[in-house]
Amino acid sequence: MDLRFTEEQLKFRDELRAWLDANLPRTYTEEVRDPANDADALVELRRRWQKKLHEAGYLGMGWPPEWGGRGATAVEDGILQAELYYRDAPLVPNFLGISLLGPALIHHGSEEQRRRFIPPMLSCDEIWCQGFSEPGSGSDLASLRTRAEPDGSDWRITGQKVWTTFGPWADWIFVLARTGDDRYGGISFFLVPLDQPGVDMRGLKQITGESEFGEVFFDDALAQGEHLVGKLGEGWRIAMTVLGYERGGAALAKPAEYDAQLEGLVAALRETGRLERPELREKVARLVVENEVMRSNGLRTLANLAAGKAPGPESSIEKIFWSEYHQRLTDAAVELLGPRGQLTARSPGARPEVDWAYQYLWSRAGSIYSGSSEIQRNIIAKRVLRMPTAR
């Protein structure tokens, strides 16, 4: 057993830290608190941040160098994500493109597709959003009804997608659409431009008050024949492989992000002299313990990846842990900070370290997206514990 980073990995981390010191002057929370930054300005800021990361070689860490990646190991990627989240760096606009579509194209796409789409995805000259969920198909994704009908060598898409993160700013969408009646084998994977007559993208206001999500309506929208990814009917298989990548990626990022938030909470309580109150101190201590346990799970996952073991269904444990932990953390913080904990980012007197009001609301999304906690528990019961299937 060995949970140490190698000399090389530590060198990578030190260089990264120096680069962040030089290139990340403000946390994203500070940017949001700046009244000069409206929603569009924040998107532009995130776009510039992604370009910077790309130029410095910090995107597509595990991808082969020929596709703009670094060919790095999961450990380096884990280190990078942890540092970015610990520092509250802006989230890159193409995070879904890079975590889901990129691997899909590298593993299942054509040479032409990779050449055409990967460079502008990494440079953020094209922003991608994800078209999987539908109003009637969330956890039961395979019941999706958006259809793709052949039109010569091209395809015409009709239907509705929802929860399309970053949709209002996106140029392209990757869509799962039905090309046949078979539950899984009748689903195909298409790349669709959003700037065309048959597409109507609308912002969807979330409980946080922002409209970072979208809902998109397709009415005979065009998908070119060469923009089918993989073979016809392979969409489900491709989507499931890439969703697996999405679940593995959070190993150290989440505990690092929550570490920073815990530090913000402790600083605020210390400053107001309330950390000495035993009932507050005990609550914070419990949160520290749980986050460290989460990091232990993450280090174990990373060590297993480094030893060449594929992440198994145990990644469901991590997904449940971090999403439900964040709800406990933000709930406790808002309570322990008193009424001040409820102030929104730009309210006078809002704590500068963490946008607690936003985090509190945002934490409700984590246990729903990317496989709800209930789906994750089903996966654990069936695939890890091998419990009997209902007849």
Binding site: M1, D2, L3, R4, F5, V75, L262, E263, V266, R281, E282, V284, A285, R286, V288, V289, E290, E292, V293, M294, S296, N297, L299, R300, L302, A303, N304, A306, A307, E314, S316, I317, I320, F321, E374, Q376, R377, N378, I380, A381, K382, V384, L385, R386, M387, P388, T389, A390, R391
Partner: protein
């Protein structure tokens, strides 16, 4: 990076499992709980002594194998809910190895060989789970004081008594040693209150004693967390086995989602405990600056997690889970005891906070 144990330790873990499967099945645990006043199988402990297990925490030259081997061994003992003072014995051997004088060395050898039972006697206040203020004295070759919740104190051949003057070794005499058994909710556990007015010698002066006891406290927490891991792991296995066999409404009850989700949560607790216990044990060997913090985290997590898992197993068994005849209660009882001692959950949580690199101080 590598999470798995290396070959030597994995081999030790496997041979320990085989030994305990043969020598300490749950039927044996029951017999010990119900029938023997010792509360443990002396024969098995002698065997463990011959095999060198009580020396696990000594240096390599003295036959030790390090904290990872210690944690792996105790997790296996947790799986069979092994009754008896194995953890206490390991800690006493470790403390004796740090003491001065021939007497301490002789008792260390006897304890390490499984020939004598030596345990630590610290607590004087039954209202507090963690050892606190000490009134006991050792002067003029005599120890005076009363210690409570001494694990297997009535069965011990010698005690390492924390006094205001240092650590005293008290060899069980014919007189001046009055032990009162303290039966607790864990029917396999034996505690005693011990009133002492008996000849004894100091084996460690105050400052040295403080160091040795802090070291034993940390390793005690790690060992208890590892035992808790084994207890909850086996308890969840029992729950999954039982719900897969038991039928109601014409189907195995394990096919009901309400029960499946409960078991999924139990697995989250078990696997998270495994991650943090072995990380803490690894730090004990390889990252001493973080070890105390991580051990506190591990103990603070493992106690409530095991209590929760072992309690849920009783629920999943339904009515028979409440009977003496079925096994789940054995695990809950031990889990509750171990949660309380070797660093209570509350003190471990606060210690974790204080030892955190950025929050502490």
């Amino acid at each position: 990076m590598q999470f798995d144990l290396d070959e030597d330790r994995e081999l030790l873990r496997q041979s320990t499992r085989e030994l305990l499967q043969k020598e300490a099945p749950l039927a044996e645990t029951r017999a010990v709980m119900e029938e023997t006043p010792e509360g443990y199988a002396k024969g098995l402990f002698a065997q463990l002594g011959e095999l060198g297990y009580p020396s696990l925490l000594l240096s390599e030259a003295e036959g030790g194998m390090g904290a990872l081997a210690f944690a792996a061994t105790l997790a296996e003992m947790g799986r069979v809910a092994l009754p008896g003072p194995f953890l206490d014995l390991c800690l006493a051997v470790r403390v004796l190895a740090g003491c001065q004088g021939d007497v301490a060395a002789r008792w260390r050898d006897r304890a390490a060989a499984g020939e004598a039972l030596v345990v630590l006697a610290r607590s004087e206040d039954a209202n507090e789970a963690d050892p606190g203020a000490v009134e006991a004295r050792c002067s003029d070759g005599c120890v005076k004081g009363t210690k409570t919740f001494v694990p297997f104190g009535a069965q011990a051949d010698a005690l390492l008594v924390e006094t205001r003057d240092g650590l005293a070794l008290v060899v069980r005499p014919g007189e001046g040693w009055h032990a009162t058994a303290l039966p607790t909710l864990d029917h396999a556990q034996r505690f005693a209150e011990i009133a002492l007015d008996t000849p004894a010698g100091l084996v460690a002066q105050s400052s040295r004693a403080t160091e040795l006891l802090a070291d034993a406290e940390r390793l005690g927490s790690l060992g208890a967390a590892a035992l808790l891991l084994g207890l909850m792991e086996r308890s969840l296995e029992l729950a999954v086995e039982y719900t897969g066999e038991r039928e109601a409404f014409g189907v195995p009850i394990g096919s009901f989602q309400a029960l499946q989700h409960r078991c999924a949560d139990m697995l989250l607790q078990v696997e998270s405990t495994r991650s943090v216990v072995f990380r803490a044990a690894w730090a004990e060997e390889a990252d001493p600056a973080e070890a105390a913090y991580l051990v506190s985290v591990a103990k603070a997590w493992a106690g409530p997690a095991a209590r929760e898992v072992c309690g849920q197993t009783i629920q999943l068994f339904g009515g028979v889970g409440f009977t003496w005849e079925y096994d789940p209660h054995i695990f809950l009882k031990r889990a509750k005891t171990l949660e309380t001692f070797y660093g209570s959950t509350r003190s471990a949580e606060l210690a974790a906070f204080d030892r955190h690199a950025r929050f502490g101080g």
